[in-house]
């Protein structure tokens, strides 16, 4: 079948075309655009404000938690005399060292199993 159209229907469609008044419709669309823009800006400012408030509120507890964790991870498991000896063995004689070794072992084990 070709794209030929029924002339009667064509004329009916042409006659149904209405000249629609534009001012009210156009202003309704532009108002919505402006409203959306205002909401977007307000939303962004709100998120920024929340981030600032959270930072102020959590700054101290976060710093404290990180300090405690760093202290715990760096603490020697077996207390050793001598600063140099303690430093040299710290990769295996601290919680961080043991945790790292365990993670490395798991990684190697999984790699060998999954090969």
């Amino acid at each position: 079948m070709s794209d030929e159209r029924d002339p009667t229907l064509e004329s009916l469609f042409a006659a149904a075309e209405e000249p629609l008044e534009d001012a009210q419709f156009t202003s309704a669309v532009t108002d919505k655009v402006s409203g959306r823009r205002r909401r977007l800006i307000a939303g962004r400012l709100g998120v920024l404000g929340m981030i600032l408030v959270l930072e102020v509120l959590l700054q101290s507890p976060l710093q404290q938690s990180l300090g405690v964790a760093a202290d715990w991870l760096g603490r020697p498991i077996v207390p050793l005399e001598g600063e140099w000896l303690s430093f040299a063995l710290s990769p295996v004689n601290t919680a961080a060292g043991v945790l790292g070794a365990v993670l490395l072992a798991i990684h190697l084990f999984l790699r060998s199993v999954l090969k």
Binding site: D3, R5, T8, L9, L12, F13, L20, D22, A28, V33
Partner: protein, 183 residues
Amino acid sequence: MPDAPGYYAQGPEALIVNLAARGDRDAFAELVRRRQPWLRNLMRRLSGDATLADDLAQRVFLKVWQKIRKLRQVDRFAGWIKQIAVNEWIDHRRKQGTVWHQAYEDESQAAPPQTPAAAIDLDAALATLPDPVRTCIVLAYHERLSHPEITELTGLPAGTVKSHIRRGSQKLRDVLEGYGGAS
């Protein structure tokens, strides 16, 4: 400096589209002014409801404003906005529960008005066709699109589009003849 809306009213569409794509809201308002009669008429033929048609047309323009920055070829604006309009209509009908790829055999979804004396117009006759059929008919007759263009816009298979237009035209003629609208 000349009055912006008056100045834009005389500009070629490609320039206005370009300015709107750069965030110029006066240029966008001019695009709305120019395109609104066409878009609202298209939506009226598709939906058969003037209020719904205006609501859908507003949604289309809002999408145009959101996406126009991504429009690379300004000379393709007419086809681009038509695609957004058809997608908006299809999405709207899907949300209403229309199965878009339904067969024509589903027959009409709205019964023709019972009183021949009632003011039967084209929209009422179109309302007797299933959604996909009505959409194909409106795109063929209102937009004067070819079958391949309708296939591309609606995502319906080419054979389905042809069948919808052939059988939809016949049904539309029958309904309109019943009320002395087409002879």
